[in-house]
Amino acid sequence: MGDYMLFIVSCIFVNNILLAQYLGNCPFLGTSKKMETALGMAMAVVFVMVMTSAVTWIVQIYVLEKFGLVYLRTIAFILLIASVVQFVEMFLKKNIPALYAGLGIFLPLITTNCAVLGVCIINVDGKFTFVKSLVSAFAYSGGYGLALILFAGVRERILLARVPKPLQDTSIGLVTAGLMALGFFAFKGMV
């Protein structure tokens, strides 16, 4: 149990997927201008990442490794992620319209979020067990959501400030993300 706690803390803070491993930066910069969109994106990422990790783990162990097709991993994973996203979208639209209204437009974007594919590959490369893969997906996506929401909070404030013209928009966003990464860097000594 203690191992898992340490692992979760390291996934959320020390190896934060966004600020320490540089994954999923395009949607990070794209959806962080408003708190609402950031919340929607964060929730969608948690949802999809846990599901895809489970599916890709099963396929890796019971299909790819069993039949010696590991070299097809990249193509298999990305197709699985795309179909899981599509499936989730249809399921939510039909059965939970309230959640669909919240996540709706973010779901198709998630297929090309490199954090999702990244975590699936990290899980498989690390030879994690099924449970550990799920825990890691949950913790990594939690870390992603945390960073995204914190960043959206900062960015809403930047809108009110006077930023020098060349630095506006993405540029100041990246510098701010750098300062946030510096904050997360302080957790390095913990684990």
Partner: protein, 196 residues
Amino acid sequence: MAKTLVQEFTKGLWDEIPPFRLVLGICPALAVSKAVEDGLGMGIALTFVLVCSNMLISAIRKIIPSQVRIACFIVVVATFVIVVELVMQAYTYALFLKLGIFIPLIVVNCIVLGRAEAFAYKQGVIRSCADGLGLGIGFTISLVALAGLREVFGSGTFLGIPVFGPSFQPFSFLVLAPGAFVCLGLMLSIMNLAKK
């Protein structure tokens, strides 16, 4: 207004140079710009995938139904990424280990999919090739520039060769994660300044 072939190529080198003008593909730009060698390797890998996928998608664009085009693009791109992955594993194993997870992640690189959707799906094969080559080389130049800045000041070397002599104290902030973000942000602002 139709552009000439040369213009399609050169627009990727300055007018639409990724990731500065075309703010796409930020993740690899941040992650593999720690050293010039990594940046160069990543740039070449991406250029190969971009050119091949652009050409193939453009060649078969008439037979891809538009409802499932994104899925088709992904399959085409993933195929070439696997080719790159296997070739790098065989011939440049050290670089393959260093780039690690970022080689399979070329699949979801926004530049490749973005060009497939915005350019190759609408234009001819030769034009798509020029476009892919231009943007790929543009991306390589940006990566090498960013990596050069970070490597020279962050670890005091260029392509692994020390440049400052023994008394130089490396500014190691630059090679760490926060430095990547700040460096890219500042370079973006310099590019914005140069635009005017």
